[in-house]
């Protein structure tokens, strides 16, 4: 099976899109990831990842509602495509496989 490439950050963003469902737009994705990763992320990196994946065909988007909070500008709501979902599952399967093959790590090793 051919593995199509997806970066670590892109994978995180893609998963966040699926998690947020109808609320998956730029600012929400940013806040969700910042909370989970405990680090600040710039709008630029999120947008870059979103556009790239859209280009690769893992995401699709459409305009949502405009609110006064955004100065009258509409949001773009993203959702994963079939291809996007399948690539996530592929990556998950590969990782599981590797984890199963690993010798026991000193995970409980306490200094």
């Amino acid at each position: 099976m051919k593995i199509t490439k997806i970066g670590e950050f892109e994978e995180l963003v893609l998963m966040t899109v699926i998690v947020l469902q109808e609320e998956a737009y730029g600012v929400a994705i940013k806040k969700e990831l910042e909370a989970r990763l405990s680090t600040s992320i710039s709008v630029g990196s999120i947008q870059s990842a979103l556009k790239r994946m859209e280009g690769k065909g893992y995401l699709e988007s459409q305009f949502g509602a405009a609110t006064a909070k955004r100065g009258g500008k509409r949001k773009r709501i993203y959702s994963a495509t079939q291809a996007g979902e399948s690539v996530l599952l592929q990556m998950k399967a590969i990782r599981n496989g590797l984890w199963n093959s690993m010798p026991p790590l000193a995970l409980d090793f306490k200094l």
Binding site: Y25, K30, V43, G44, Q47, F63, K69, R74, K75
Partner: protein, 866 residues
């Protein structure tokens, strides 16, 4: 200090930034996100911090994947767009032939000039750098200790001494490279004249004059050997192989064996010679050169690769003193890279003070300057008639063309014109190359190699982009609305800039015209001024072979006098072109003891003064009637003035520890170029002079010379008469000035051409701008003449300004140049005013043509342009 209250809204500039760079389809979403985040931040942070974060986010949004055009496959490479632009450009050229041709001419002249100068500069850089050992090749210089004099004449033993005493020196060559004399070489009955030098054994080891025959170790070891060039071998034997081992005779005296053949020195070698003789052949007959205290030959070193030259130079500074047994001497040694000496050959003491490099810089600067002016003219002309292309721009923009694509279109158009200009300029270069080579004394060629191609490509791109940048950006800025409304009428663009440029160009032209005239006058002066002797129809040749024997000379002279075409002949020890020998031991009554004034010392034989037509202002010339003339002296006026003698004739004075009597005073004559004042000179009687002069009858020169040749062959077998005309020798003194004269004439012509082009462009522009005004005036009854006057007045003022700026500058430049001459013309006011008037005339002509055209307006048409 009160701060402005920080507003609650985000700053404007980040949005503008985003709108400029990011893809349009992303803008709404991203701007919305930015706004939302800003509002949120305001609840957590201060307004100041929120604004800062906002700007930060904007900057971080500038990523390749979000920026417009980079990933867009359209605009640049679309084939049909390309074809369309091409067609438009072509139509434009055909429709407006004049401006197209002017642009073409201007650019190609500029490019041709640039290329020629580039070739020259490249050649200069390459001189002497072709030797394989170049990185390790050094020459020994002598600092004469008075802070400002340096010489390449070193003591004979220095080379060998340094090799023996200094481990850093791998090998050395002692050679006489400054005295490359012309001599006669003979093999049986073939006699050829050739130039050569003396060099020690390692000559071919250090320098890359490739040996076609013979080995480096054996060529200069034997004292009776000679190494000849390929072309010399061809001239003797018709071949250049199997020549080693043959015998030839030098100056009918020395029998030498050919030990090798070398390839002719390339044109990049500053040393040009046909043969090499071993240095010991010369030093054995001039043993004084082997002393540490004397200086004559040049010394070259092959240094070890790793040597620190600074340390080495400190080490050898006192070398001479050490070798002379601790004797005090002011001379200290230092070594410099051999190939540097061509361009950086001037030294003051131990410090490098320029040399030919200043000409390289000067001409490079001139080349860039000329190209720049051509580019600026192009810009001027292209924007001046922008009205023509307004409609095209307007329509394209309203149909949705990006400004960027318009810019690209105009840039590629100007690059296309530049490429055409380049092709034309290459033809111009090829055409002028022979003459250029003559002026510069080089053999430059357009070699079609990769280096030249890269250079030309780079030049074209740079010029095209530079010249086309302003028009491209300017034209694409036009707003469609204004065009359609018809508001634009011959667009603005800094008028003062254009005018300033034309003034600059004209000032330059005037300076050049004036300089050309001044240089021409000075050269005429040097050629026509009375030198104090008559130099026409006199030939000069050096004594050689049998002639070196005085008896033979005298009988030869007697024989010559029998030829009807020979009017007079005698011997002299000076060529009348440079200062040769001087003496400072002349003792006259009243001379102060520490006066060491030098007198030029010239030995002449009977009849020489009459031959040269010199004027005696007191006393008489040497005459056979007076036996005592062997202790007679003739001084020139300058000498008498120096000595302060009232009644010189008949006075006794001491010279060379003997007593002499002054028998006459000769009027001052120039024995050097006009650069130098006439020095004091003393002549004494003798027949050992090295040169023979013959005055021939001007009516029968050919015949007489033929007879002289024959006579010479019989009197001096094996040698051919190698003479030169005295007036040619004299003219040769001014070679540098002749070159300056030629070059300045070309540059003046070039400057005028470019200035006229610039002026023409400006005239067209002004005419276009003032069309309506002219139209109305014409309706109200103005005559054509009146209109032309009106339009030209502006330009007259500009040219007058140029004259005003240029005249003082050219006056000072001329004065400075003439100061290099001890004898010069006086600067007449009309030289400069004439140049100014000429410029004015040219300007009127240029403008007038354009204006006359402009006034033939169709009134209805120009007023209709709303």
């Amino acid at each position: 200090m009160t701060h402005k209250p920080i507003p609650d809204i985000p700053p404007k500039w980040p949005l503008r930034l985003l709108r400029f760079f990011l893809k349009d389809s992303y803008l709404e979403e991203i701007e919305g996100d930015m706004e939302e985040i800003y509002q949120e931040n305001l609840t957590h942070f201060s307004p100041k911090r929120s604004r800062f974060l906002y700007s930060l986010e904007a900057v971080k949004l500038l990523r390749p994947s979000l920026i417009k055009h980079i990933s867009s496959p359209t605009s640049l490479i679309n084939a049909s767009m390309f074809k369309h632009n091409f067609t438009i450009a072509f139509r434009h050229f055909r429709r407006y032939k004049t401006s197209f041709l002017i642009n073409l001419m201007g650019l190609s002249t500029g490019l041709a000039c640039f290329i020629l100068i580039f070739l020259w500069v490249q050649d200069e850089w390459r001189m002497d750098k072709f030797h394989t050992n170049d990185a390790q090749l050094y020459q020994v210089m002598v600092d004469l200790g008075n802070g400002s004099s340096t010489s390449t004449n070193t003591a004979g033993p220095v080379g060998a001494g340094l090799v023996a005493d200094m481990p850093e020196v791998l090998a050395a060559v002692t050679a006489r490279t400054k005295s490359i004399n012309s001599n006669t070489l003979s093999i049986e009955d073939t006699h050829l004249r050739a130039k050569g030098l003396f060099a020690s054994e390692d000559f071919f080891r250090l320098f890359s004059y490739d040996l076609l025959e013979g080995t480096i170790d054996q060529t200069l070891t034997d004292i009776a050997s000679i190494v000849i060039s390929e072309s010399l071998a061809q001239r003797f034997f018709g071949q250049s192989s199997d020549v080693v081992g043959k015998q030839l005779v030098l100056e009918q005296e020395h029998n030498l064996m050919i030990t090798g053949v070398f390839k002719d020195p390339s044109r990049h070698s500053s040393l040009q010679f046909d043969y090499v003789l071993p240095f010991k052949a010369w030093s054995s007959e001039n043993t004084w050169v082997n002393q540490w205290g004397n200086r004559h030959p040049q010394t070259f070193l092959l240094m070890d690769e790793q040597v620190d030259m600074e340390a080495f130079n400190t080490k050898i500074a006192n070398y001479l003193s050490v070798k002379m047994g601790g004797e005090e001497t002011e001379n200290s040694l230092f070594a410099v890279k051999y190939s540097d000496n061509y361009l950086y050959g001037n030294y003051e003491g131990r410090t490098q003070s320029g040399g030919r490099i200043k000409y390289v810089w000067l001409f490079s600067l001139i080349a860039v300057f000329i190209l720049l002016i051509a580019c600026i003219n192009f810009m001027n002309l292209s924007t001046a008639r922008a009205t023509r292309r307004q409609k095209e721009v307007g329509i394209k923009k309203s149909l949705g063309a990006h400004r960027f694509s318009l810019v690209m279109q105009y840039l590629s158009e100007s690059t296309f014109i530049t490429i055409l200009s380049l092709l034309l300029s290459l033809f111009i270069v090829l055409f002028f190359l022979p003459e250029f080579n003559e002026i510069t004394g080089k053999q430059l060629r357009l070699t079609w190699d990769l280096g030249l191609f890269k250079f030309l490509l780079g030049t074209v791109l740079l010029t095209g982009l530079l010249a086309g940048s302003y028009p491209a950006f300017f034209l694409s800025k036009l707003k469609p609305i204004s065009i359609i409304k018809g508001k634009l009428n011959g667009v603005g663009g800094a008028l003062w800039l254009r005018k300033g440029l034309v003034v600059l160009q004209f000032s330059l032209s005037i300076i050049l015209i004036a300089s050309v005239w001044v240089v021409y006058q000075q050269i005429q002066f040097t050629q026509t001024q009375n030198l104090g002797y008559k130099r026409d129809n006199i030939i000069l040749f050096e004594k050689e072979g049998r002639m070196e024997d005085v008896e033979n000379t005298q009988s030869f002279l007697a024989e010559m006098r029998r030829i009807p075409g020979v009017l007079a002949t005698s011997t002299i020890d000076n060529t009348l072109t440079y200062s040769d020998w001087s003496i400072n031991s002349v003792q006259w009554p009243g001379k102060s003891p520490d006066d060491r004034s030098a007198f030029e010392l010239v030995q002449i034989d009977y009849g020489m003064i009459e031959l040269l037509g010199m004027e005696m202002i007191a006393g008489r010339t040497f005459s056979e009637q007076f036996r005592t003339d062997s202790t007679g002296l003739i001084f020139n006026e300058a000498a008498i003035r120096l000595m302060g003698l009232e009644e010189p004739v008949g006075m006794q004075l001491d010279m060379w520890n003997g007593t002499f009597e002054i028998i006459g005073v000769v009027k001052d004559f120039h024995f050097e170029s006009f650069h130098k004042k006439v020095k004091p000179l003393v002549m004494y009687l003798g027949d050992h002079g090295r040169y023979i002069m013959v005055k021939v009858d001007g009516q029968r020169t050919e015949q007489t010379l033929g007879q002289l040749h024959t006579l010479y062959q019989t009197s001096n077998p094996g040698f051919s008469l190698d003479y030169s005309f005295l007036d040619e020798d004299y003219a040769a003194l001014y070679v540098a000035e002749q070159r300056v004269s030629m070059l300045s004439r070309y540059f003046a012509g070039l400057a005028i051409l470019i200035s006229c082009l610039g002026l023409f462009g400006l005239a067209m522009f002004t005419a276009a701008k003032r069309r309506k005004e002219m139209g109305i005036r014409k309706i109200l009854g103005a005559s054509a003449y009146h209109l032309v006057r009106l339009l030209s007045d502006d330009f007259t003022k500009m040219v007058l300004l140029s004259i005003f700026i240029a005249l003082p500058i050219s006056y000072f430049m001329a004065r400075a140049w003439l100061e290099g001459f001890a004898f010069s013309i006086s600067l007449q006011w009309w030289y400069f005013v004439g140049a100014g008037l000429l410029a004015l005339l040219i300007a009127w002509l240029t403008v007038g043509l354009q204006m006359a055209n402009a006034t033939r307006l169709n009134l209805v048409e120009c007023l209709r342009e709303e």
